[in-house]
């Protein structure tokens, strides 16, 4: 009761502080409290002092009023500070500790920036989080709630890192926090929490996962469904979910059904593939790769082809969509399914009525499938199809020919089709050649920069002259093997017109060095002196290799060039590189620069 009165008085003085003590004279609401105060004053003198101070304020002049209000309030606040309540609602129960076994020993200067990075917004946070992860200073009890809460961060790379690195490092310790933060109706962060909890607890929490899958928010649902894929007994739930009205939920359910791979699951996937869900079912089917399912799809494809050939316009569109789905589902399984797939693909690609521009996508997919099979008859068919010069077939034909025919046969068959290099066939062929070269060359030397060089024995030596005639500098670079006059003249001619940074320029230089053309260093130097300093921006791998290929005698000129570079960091790198060339043992230089490169590489690693 007495405290209530004090509290009321506090409200009134606070009001006057805001309104101004000038309003206090004869204030009605303050006045009303006076009798109560006086009455309480009979038992406790401090109320009398408050009553007196309040009265003084009520009767004070405008000028005196602020001092009186301050005096009253000072006294009142002092009294209130002795009256603070510490009672608690209800009957408190001892808290149950989760027993997380983590220390709290990380010092402020390490822990604080980490927690700041997790809980605030702004730049440089991921960097800080990485640093804390690397030096191990993130493993602290106090960081745990912030780490788990960062699964919600809007900068996606942070929750990714937290999910992949930080929380797994906390292990079981993170479980109670994740559990307390988990909200099945929440967002993406809660999906991540569910995945992490499952990773720790495994099957023990299948009930919660099933609940999330059937009644959670979409994000939680998707995460839960992806977990269910390893539990065969969850098949009924997944079958039900594969009929959800949301497309992404159905897609997730198909993926999980594919990893369960039971008969009903495959039935459902087939059903999805031939319905409007074809597109989202293709991925899971491909991943599952069940031969029975694929064979069934091939039979379905054959029917679709039949109805395409016999049907009306509307049925045709539907059937061609179905065919595309079947072909996509077979992608990657061509070799395995060759026995069933070859007759299907053959029929598809040899039925004239089907080979119309509208079905070009399917034709390409079928051709790709044909090459995948690695069957002699399939390759033969691909080459034959290409002969007609029709559509995209020439590309596949070339690839099959490269695989089955000798280099000179390939040249004889295709060189003639190039003409001036401008026709559609020629363009397709050039693209096919590039494709084959990349495919053939790339995995041989990991740190290759720029265009690869072809394997000499795999190609006819006449190609390079053809490319020179067709003016294809990129291909010339790939096919050049030694410093023939023709090649040297062509490339140096091209370089004379070029500027640093232009198309194919560094490739052409690298090629000159590769084929050991003796004027290569001079050509490179010329190009550098032609104003390259202004449009050279960073030291890429190929440039580094070019510089490292220079003989020592060029060091002074290279250094002089380096002085002109606009960008300081590039300049520093350039100078360091020059110094390294200077330091390189002389013997390596005899091998025309290549040795310096090798020596440099061994030094860097």
């Amino acid at each position: 009761m007495s405290i209530d009165l004090l509290f009321e008085l506090q409200q009134e003085t606070r009001r006057l502080f805001i309104a101004g003590s000038a309003m206090a004279a004869n204030d009605l609401r303050l006045n009303r409290l006076l009798p109560g105060l006086k009455k309480l004053g009979e038992s406790a003198p401090v109320f009398n002092r408050l009553a007196a101070a309040a009265e003084e304020l009520l009767t004070a002049s405008r000028e005196d009023s602020p001092a009186k209000l301050l005096d009253l309030s000072t006294l009142l606040v002092a009294v209130l500070y002795t009256q603070g309540k510490t009672d608690v609602d209800g009957e408190p129960q001892p808290i149950q500790g989760a027993g997380v076994d983590l220390a709290t020993d990380i010092p402020y200067r390490k822990l604080h920036p980490f927690i700041e990075a997790l809980t605030t917004k702004g730049q440089g946070r991921l960097e800080q989080i990485r640093v804390s992860y690397e030096d191990g200073s993130f493993l602290d009890l106090r960081a745990l709630p912030a780490v788990c809460a960062a699964l919600e961060d809007s900068y996606a790379e942070i929750p990714d890192f937290v999910q992949e690195k930080l929380i797994p490092a906390f292990g079981a310790s993170a479980v109670p926090v994740l559990q307390s933060q988990l909200d099945l109706q929440g967002g993406k962060g809660d999906g991540r929490r569910l995945l992490l909890l499952h990773r720790q607890l495994g099957e023990a929490m299948i009930g919660l996962v099933a609940e999330g899958a059937s009644s959670g928010s979409t994000e939680v649902k998707l995460a839960a469904i992806s977990i269910l894929g390893v539990y065969a007994d969850q098949e009924p739930l997944l079958l039900a979910l594969s009929r959800d009205k949301r497309k992404d939920v159905r897609a997730a359910a198909y993926a999980s059904l594919a990893s369960i791979g039971s008969a009903p699951a495959l039935d459902r996937l087939f059903e999805a593939a031939v319905s409007k869900d074809g597109e989202i079912a293709v991925g899971p089917i491909r991943q599952n790769g069940s031969p029975q399912l694929l064979a069934r799809l091939i039979r379905h494809g054959e029917q679709a082809l039949a109805s395409y050939l016999n049907g009306e316009a509307k049925e045709r569109t539907e059937a061609s969509e179905q065919l595309l789905i079947v072909l996509h589902a077979l992608e990657g399984s061509g070799k395995k399914m060759a026995a069933e797939a070859y007759p299907f693909a053959q029929k598809l690609l040899t039925t004239a009525a089907y080979l119309v521009p509208e079905t070009e996508n399917a034709q390409e997919a079928a051709s790709e499938l044909l090459l995948e099979m690695e069957l002699p008859e399939a390759d033969q068919l691909a080459i034959e199809l290409g002969n007609g010069g029709k559509g995209p077939f020439v590309r596949y034909g070339f690839r099959a020919a490269f695989r089955t025919l000798s280099p000179s046969e390939v040249y004889d068959r295709y060189a003639g089709q190039m003409n001036g290099g401008k026709s559609r066939v020629a363009k397709e062929l050039l693209a096919a050649i590039r494709e084959v070269v990349y495919h053939d060359a790339y995995d041989e030397d990991e740190d290759r920069y720029g265009e690869p060089a072809v394997r000499e024995e795999a190609w006819d030596s006449r190609w390079v002259s053809l490319f020179i005639r067709l003016d294809q500098p990129g291909l010339v670079c790939m096919f050049a093997q030694r410093a023939d006059k023709e090649i040297a003249v062509y490339l140096t001619g091209k370089l004379r017109e070029a500027k640093w940074g232009g198309k194919d320029v560094s490739d052409m230089l690298a090629t000159l060095f590769r084929i050991r053309y003796k004027e290569a260093p001079e050509r490179f130097m010329e190009l550098l002196d032609k104003g390259a300093a202004r449009n050279m921006y960073y030291m890429h791998g190929q440039l580094r290799r070019l510089v490292a290929s220079m003989p020592k005698s060029y060091v002074p000129r290279l250094r002089a060039f380096g002085e002109q570079l606009t960008y300081e960091s590039l300049r520093n790198e350039w100078m360091t590189l020059i110094e390294e060339i200077e330091q390189a043992p002389t013997s390596t230089e005899e091998e025309n620069g290549r040795g310096v490169w090798g020596w440099l590489k061994s030094k860097m690693s």
């Binding site: 009023s65 602020p66 002795t82 603070g84 608690v88 402020y108 926090v177």
Partner: protein
């Protein structure tokens, strides 16, 4: 040379950035030359920088307790990242080639030695004549008092004016006027008072919940009013009789803005010899009104269980060049502990200290010092905070029987079953109560906690924030 560990190097670094930069130098392999003197007192090396010439840095352990860092780089940070990098290289086991001490460092060592000798000689000759008591220029002192009084009266006038017209009428123009006045207070030797007015300006400039701002502003006005009253009566007395000693019973001098010097504290008998302190909690925050970072530590004196505090202030402008304080896990031993005047959690300071590992015996001492009865502690706290000038958030060590869950949070329970509600103070940054449920059962029964009290005037509730928990075997830092 002491064994150099990464933690040791971390503790030498002036701030977290320097730690990172120093470590990065190792990652980038920036030390082409690493040397060590044959007598193992000096580490030196070369570190690649952005310039042509590498920086030559060294760490000299001639005096093990205070290593000397030298570097040819122009950084104002001390020690710089190069010297730290050199030590990290050592801690991480990079090979150091033995080499003779370079001439320039040998010269510097000689010079330092000579300086030391001179100092010693001077100290000896002074030791013969007793140290003269510091002389005070009385007329100057009286002049200073007059100026301080003038400043306080200026503030009084301003406060009265504000109260008369009311907080509701404070607009941008008024705030600007107050800021002007605060600037003027700078000429009156009362920086503490000036800071309080600045804090008021800061409050009034805050955007957000008007009601909360008014409540805070009102408390600040009351504080200034009380400070003016107390300050005026104290200064008037001293002006009448300049021989009177300075006020050391309360923190009044500090609140007015006096920066206590160690010599003064010694003079007033506030130097305690031989003390052992254990840091119980640490926090660093920016005080926008004063324009400085505050590194605050709370410590327990292991001899009697008193809770002390340390405060290192780093003005924003000089923050980069000053050392950021950090959590201290070891027990700090000092020959001379200076205790500032103050009512509760008195501020302490020391010049030199050694450290030793904290152990279970220390934790038991801390637990034994914890207050057992909440009725007594609460009474004590209320008695402290009712004083208008007192620290409104005293920090206490309390024992608990258990930590309980209530309808809307947590509370502590003492042996008599008395309860103490727990709330997290926004100003402390982190919600420590969220960590409690993660602890082990045995850490939640019959242990001691360091808590910060606070009283909310708006709903008249007194509650505590948990800062640390001390058990017999473990020390759990909930804050930092």
């Amino acid at each position: 040379m002491p064994t150099i560990t990464e933690a040791y190097v971390d503790s030498l670094a002036p701030n977290a950035g320097a730690i990172k930069n120093g470590r990065d130098l190792i990652k980038k392999n920036s030390f082409p030359v690493l040397n060590e003197s044959p007598d193992a007192t000096l580490l030196f090396g070369e570190c690649n920088g952005s310039g042509k010439e590498p920086y030559r840095c060294s760490v000299d352990f001639v005096n093990e307790a205070s290593p000397v860092f030298r570097c040819s780089c122009p950084s104002r940070q001390f020690p710089c990242k190069h010297a730290l990098g050199l030590l990290y290289a050592r801690a991480m086991g990079s090979p150091f080639t033995p080499a003779e001490v370079p001439q320039d460092i040998a010269d510097k060592r000689d010079k330092a030695e000579k300086r030391e000798e001179k100092k010693k000689d001077a100290a000896e000759s002074e030791g013969n004549a007793p140290a003269a008591k510091r002389k005070v220029n009385k007329s100057a002192l009286v002049k200073k008092f007059a100026s301080q009084l003038e400043g306080l009266r200026l503030l009084e006038k301003l406060v009265l004016q504000l109260v008369q017209s009311g907080l509701g009428s404070v607009d941008k123009k008024t705030v600007q006027m107050i800021e002007e006045q605060a600037k003027q207070l700078g000429n009156h030797f009362i920086p503490g008072v000036q800071a309080k007015l600045r804090a008021f300006v800061h409050t009034m400039q805050t955007e957000g919940d008007r009601e909360a701002i008014y409540s805070q502003a009102m408390e600040q006005l009351l504080l200034m009013h009380s400070l003016v009253k107390k300050g005026v009566s104290y200064l008037e007395k001293r002006m009448e009789n300049p021989e009177l000693p300075m006020e050391t019973g309360t923190s009044l001098e500090e609140q007015l803005g006096h920066a206590w010097q160690l010599a003064e504290l010694r003079e007033y008998g506030r130097a305690q010899s031989g003390a052992e302190l254990l840091q119980l909690s640490f926090l660093s925050y920016a005080d926008a009104a004063r324009g400085e970072y505050v590194d605050a530590g709370w410590w327990v004196d292991l001899s009697d269980g008193t809770v002390r505090s340390t405060r290192h202030l780093r003005p924003f402008r000089a923050a980069r060049a000053l050392k950021e304080e950090d959590t201290v896990r070891a027990v700090v031993r000092t020959e001379e502990l200076f205790v500032y005047p103050g009512e509760v959690n008195a501020r302490v300071r020391w010049e030199t200290a050694t450290q030793r590992e904290a152990g279970e015996a220390d934790y038991s001492k801390v637990k034994a010092a914890a207050a057992a009865s909440y009725a007594d502690v609460v009474k004590q706290v209320k008695n402290i905070i009712k004083n208008p000038l007192a620290d409104k958030t005293p920090v206490m060590l309390v024992a608990f029987r258990s930590i309980d869950k209530t309808a809307d949070g947590l509370c502590l329970r003492d042996a008599q079953g008395k309860l103490l509600p727990v709330t997290d103070l926004k100003t402390n940054g982190s919600a420590t109560s969220a960590l409690i449920a993660l602890l082990d059962e045995k850490d939640l029964r019959d242990q001691a906690a360091l808590v910060m009290f606070s009283h909310r005037l708006d709903d008249n509730r007194l509650s505590v924030q948990l800062m640390s928990i001390v058990t017999d075997s473990r020390f759990i830092r909930l804050l930092y």
